[in-house]
C-alpha cells in the first residue's frame, strides 16, 4: 500500500517531460542516475546472436526503475500539498443526474468470498470532484467502461487498441559482469516469425539489471506461454552467462499498449478525461511510453486548471495534445508496428525503410490487424509447445517467480476476475482453444482441474493475480472481466 507498488516498466527513460515538469529534478534527488552508456540490438536464433544496427537513439536517456521514480514523484507531490491515498481501489464511476462524471467510488472492504460481510466490513466511499482524471495504466478497468459507454474510440483516431504482455525480472548480478547504463534489445528467438515481440536487458546501478520479454498479444498459437518463452530466453548463450551467479530480486508482469497513433481514443468525457496509458501514448518503435504518458498528464492538468479557473471546456486537453510533441512523435512512429502484421522479416525491412528513409512521411497510415482476442487461432491448427523444465538457476517455475513479486491479496474476498458467462470456459475456451488463459496468465491464476466427475473445470486462483490485464485483453470471447480486488491487494514492486 505505497505509491509505486503496482508500477512496472523496462525502463529506459527519456527525461523530456520531466525536464518540463521539474527542471531541477537532478538536484531534487530524483532516482534517475544511470545514463545510457551503450545501445546494442541483436537478432537471436536458437544458438546465435546477430548484431544489427541499433534502431534506438538513447543519448540523453537514463536507465531507471520506474517504481522508484514514481515513489519519488509521490514525495514531491505530497510536498506541495497533493494528497495521495494508496491502497484504495476505485471500483465505480459516479454520475450525476445529467450523466456527468462527478467522481469515483471505492469498493467495500471486508467482504467475504461468498459476498457476506466480514467482521471488518467497511463500505466504500464516494470521492467527488469537479474534474475526474483517470490514470489506471494500460487497459484501465474504469477507463475501458468510459471508452465504451461514451464511444471514445470512434470519436478519436478510430482504431481498436492493441497490446503486448511484458514479463520482467530484476536481477542482482556479479560485479565484474555489471556495466551501468548498458542497454540491450533482442528480436527473433525464442519467438517465431509470426509472433511480434522482443526482449530487453538494461543495467541499472548497484549491480542490478532489468531483464524482460515483451510478447504482442495478437499471437496466433493458443499453446503459447509468454512466461515459458521468457524462461527459454534466459537460456540463450548471449544472456545466460550474465545471469549465472546472480540472484533474482523481483518478478512481475504487465500489459502495455501497442496501438500508438491509430488507437488513441478521444480522451475527454463529461466531467473529466483519461490520461497516460489508459488512453495509450506508447511510442512502440522507441519502446517508450513514460515520457508521453507524463506529458499527457501535464496537458490534462493545465486543461483542468482552465476548467476550474476560467470555465473552459475540458476538450482543450485534446486540442493541446494534438499541438504537442506527443502527437508529432506518435504520428512519426505510427507505421512501424502495424507493418509487422505481415511477419517478422517484412516488418523489420519496413522498419529499416521507415527509420532511415521515410521517417513517417509516407502519406498512408497502416491499419492494425485483428483485435488481439480475435487473433488466437483454434488449437486444432497448432501443436502443443514442449517447454523445458526450469533449472532453478536462471529459469524458474511460476510459484517461485510469483513469490518474488511480493503479491498479496486478502484471501477471504470475492473473486475479482468475473466471467460474464460462467459456462464459456468449459464450452468454448477449453475445447476450441485448449484453455489459453491457463498459459498466457503470468501468475497461473487460471487452471483447469478435474472436478468430482473428473471433468475439467476452470479454477480461478485470484489471489495470485499480478493485475497485468492480459486475461481481460486476450480471452477469445472477451468473457473475462478484470475488476479491482479489495484495496491494498496486488503486487509489491519496489525496483521494477
Amino acid at each position: 500500500m505505497s505509491a509505486g507498488a503496482h508500477i512496472i516498466s523496462g525502463n529506459v527513460f527519456e527525461p523530456r517531460a520531466l525536464d518540463e515538469l521539474i527542471p531541477n529534478w537532478k538536484s531534487e534527488g530524483a532516482p534517475i542516475e544511470v545514463p545510457v552508456s551503450s545501445d546494442k540490438f541483436l537478432l537471436l536464433t536458437k544458438g546465435q546472436a546477430l548484431p544489427l544496427p541499433s534502431p534506438f537513439d538513447n543519448k540523453g536517456n537514463y536507465v531507471i526503475s520506474l517504481s522508484q521514480v514514481v515513489r519519488w514523484l509521490a514525495c514531491k507531490a505530497e510536498e506541495i500539498g497533493v494528497e495521495i491515498y494508496p491502497g484504495f481501489a476505485a471500483s465505480e464511476i459516479i454520475y450525476d443526474n445529467n450523466q456527468k462524471v462527478v467522481g469515483v467510488g471505492t469498493n467495500d472492504m471486508g467482504v467475504a468470498k461468498d459476498g457476506s460481510k466480514r467482521e471488518t466490513f467497511q463500505p466504500g466511499v464516494e470521492l467527488k470532484g469537479r474534474v475526474t482524471l483517470l490514470a489506471e495504466g494500460c487497459r484501465g478497468s474504469l477507463s475501458e467502461k468510459i471508452i465504451r459507454d461514451h464511444k471514445l474510440r470512434d470519436k478519436g483516431q478510430g482504431q481498436h487498441q492493441t497490446y503486448a504482455l511484458g514479463i520482467k525480472e530484476v536481477w542482482e548480478i556479479e560485479e565484474v559482469k555489471h556495466k551501468p547504463g548498458s542497454v540491450l534489445h533482442t528480436v527473433g528467438w525464442p519467438l517465431d516469425s509470426k509472433t511480434y515481440g522482443g526482449s530487453f536487458l538494461y543495467h541499472m546501478k548497484d549491480r542490478q539489471i532489468a531483464l524482460g520479454l515483451v510478447v504482442a498479444l495478437d499471437y496466433h498459437n493458443p499453446y503459447l506461454s509468454p512466461f515459458d518463452e521468457f524462461q527459454k530466453l534466459k537460456d540463450h548463450p548471449s544472456i545466460k552467462p550474465l545471469l549465472e551467479g546472480g540472484t533474482v530480486l523481483e518478478y512481475g508482469a504487465r500489459t502495455l499498449n501497442e496501438g500508438g497513433f491509430q488507437s488513441i481514443p478521444f480522451p475527454v468525457f463529461p466531467g473529466g478525461a483519461i490520461i497516460g496509458c489508459s488512453a495509450g501514448y506508447v511510442n512502440v518503435p522507441k519502446i517508450k511510453g513514460t515520457h508521453t504518458a507524463m506529458k499527457s498528464g501535464m496537458l490534462a492538468a493545465e486543461a483542468t486548471f482552465r476548467v476550474l479557473a476560467e470555465g473552459d471546456p475540458m476538450e482543450t486537453y485534446w486540442d493541446s495534445l494534438k499541438k504537442s510533441w506527443v502527437w508529432e512523435e506518435l504520428h512519426k512512429a505510427r507505421n512501424y508496428r502495424p507493418a509487422f502484421k505481415f511477419g517478422l522479416l517484412p516488418g523489420l525491412a519496413f522498419s529499416a525503410l521507415e527509420r532511415y528513409i521515410f521517417r513517417g512521411r509516407v502519406p498512408l497510415t497502416l491499419k492494425h490487424g485483428k483485435p488481439d482476442h480475435e487473433a488466437t487461432e483454434v488449437a486444432s491448427l497448432h501443436e502443443p509447445i514442449q517447454y523445458p523444465k526450469p533449472d532453478g538457476i536462471v529459469s524458474f517455475d511460476v510459484p517461485t517467480s510469483l513469490y518474488r513479486s511480493n503479491t498479496n491479496h486478502e484471501h477471504d474476498q470475492p473473486v475479482h476476475l468475473r466471467l460474464k458467462d460462467p459456462a464459456i470456459p468449459e464450452l468454448v475456451n477449453l475445447p476450441l482453444y485448449a484453455g489459453p488463459e491457463s498459459r498466457y496468465c503470468p501468475a497461473r491464476v487460471y487452471e483447469y482441474v478435474a472436478d468430482e466427475h473428473n471433468a475439467p473445470k476452470l479454477q480461478i486462483n485470484a489471489q495470485n493475480c499480478l493485475h497485468c490485464k492480459a486475461c481481460d485483453i486476450k480471452d477469445p470471447r472477451q468473457n473475462i472481466e478484470w475488476t479491482v480486488p479489495e484495496g491494498g491487494g496486488g503486487p509489491g514492486y519496489t525496483a521494477m
Binding site: M1, S2, A5, Q68, E83, Y85, F88, T106, M109, G110, R118, E119, T120, Q122, V125, L127, T247, L249, Y403, R404, N406, T407, N408, G492, T494, A495
Partner: protein, 253 residues
C-alpha cells in the same frame, strides 16, 4: 483510564526479504514497510476497550526514526486519540531493552492504566519488550493474550493466554502490561475518511534527552546470513541404510 499502545514499523509481512551484501542485516531500503501485524492487533484491542466504555483515551507510541510517523498515522486512522513519536534518529534500530526503558519513561509521564503491545515484531521475533517493560515498571503482565476482559470497577484485567499446553487465564491488577497474540482480534481497516483526518492530527515528538533515558547497547549484531539452502531429499532403500546415514552423515545417533 488511558491505554498506551506501542507500535513498531517493520518490513511488510508480504515482502520477500533479503540479506544485505555486507551481511550486516536485512535490506530495508526501497522496501515496503508497515505496522507490525501484532501491533495492529494491539491497537484494535485498545480501541475495542475504549469503545466498550472501559477506557477514555488510546495513545499510540512509536520509537524510531522520522518515518515512524507513518505508522503512527495508521494508528490514528484506526481510531487512536493521540500519538507520540520518540525520535531515536540515527541510532541503529533499538533493541527491546532500550525500547522498554523508553516506554517505562513515557508510562511514568502519561500514567496509563493499561499498556498493550504486540507479542513480538516480525523483523526480530524478540518477544521481549512487553515483558521487560512490565519488569521495569513492576507491573503485572499477561502475554500472548487471546482474550482480554476489563473490569472497570474492580480495575482488573482478565487475560486468557495461549500457552504450550492450551489456555491459561490470569487476573491482573491494573495498571498492567498485555501483549497480543494472533487470535485476539481482527484489526479493523483504516477507512479513507479516517486516513484523511489523521493526516492533519498532531503527532507529539519527544526526544530521548527529554525522557532522561540513556541508550546503551549491550548487544552487537555480528553477522546476518541467509539460512542454508534446502538440499534435495534422498530416497533410501532400507532401514539399515537409514541408520547408517543418521549415524555417519547426519551424526545424530
Amino acid at each position: 483510564m488511558k491505554i498506551m499502545v506501542a507500535v513498531k514499523r517493520v518490513v511488510d509481512y508480504a515482502v520477500k526479504i533479503r540479506v544485505k551484501a555486507d551481511k550486516s542485516g536485512v535490506e530495508t531500503s526501497n522496501v515496503k514497510m508497515s505496522m507490525n501485524p501484532f501491533c495492529e492487533i494491539a491497537v484494535e484491542e485498545a480501541l475495542r476497550i475504549r469503545e466498550s466504555g472501559a477506557a477514555s483515551e488510546v495513545v499510540a507510541v512509536s520509537v524510531g526514526p522520522a518515518q515512524c510517523a507513518d505508522t503512527l498515522r495508521t494508528a490514528l486512522a484506526m481510531g487512536a486519540d493521540r500519538a507520540i513519536h520518540v525520535d531515536s534518529g540515527a541510532l541503529a534500530p533499538l533493541l527491546p531493552l532500550s525500547v522498554a526503558k523508553i516506554l517505562k519513561a513515557l508510562a511514568e509521564t502519561e500514567r496509563p492504566g493499561l499498556m498493550i503491545l504486540g507479542k513480538q515484531a516480525i523483523d526480530d521475533d524478540c518477544n521481549q519488550t512487553g515483558q521487560m517493560v512490565a519488569g521495569l515498571l513492576k507491573w503485572p503482565q499477561g502475554t500472548f493474550a487471546s482474550k482480554v476482559l476489563l473490569d472497570k470497577e474492580k480495575q482488573v484485567a482478565t487475560v486468557e493466554r495461549e500457552v504450550d499446553g492450551g489456555l491459561e487465564t490470569l487476573s491482573l491488577d491494573l495498571p498492567a502490561v498485555i501483549t497480543t497474540d494472533l487470535r485476539l482480534n481482527q484489526p479493523r481497516y483504516a477507512t479513507l475518511p479516517n486516513i484523511m483526518k489523521a493526516k492533519s492530527k498532531v503527532i507529539k515528538k519527544v526526544s530521548l534527552e527529554e525522557l532522561n533515558v540513556e541508550i546503551k547497547s549491550d548487544l552487537e549484531v555480528v553477522q546476518v546470513t541467509e539460512p542454508p539452502k534446502r538440499k534435495a531429499g534422498v530416497i533410501l532403500s532400507s532401514v539399515d541404510e537409514l541408520i547408517d546415514k543418521l549415524k555417519n552423515e547426519a551424526r545424530v545417533l
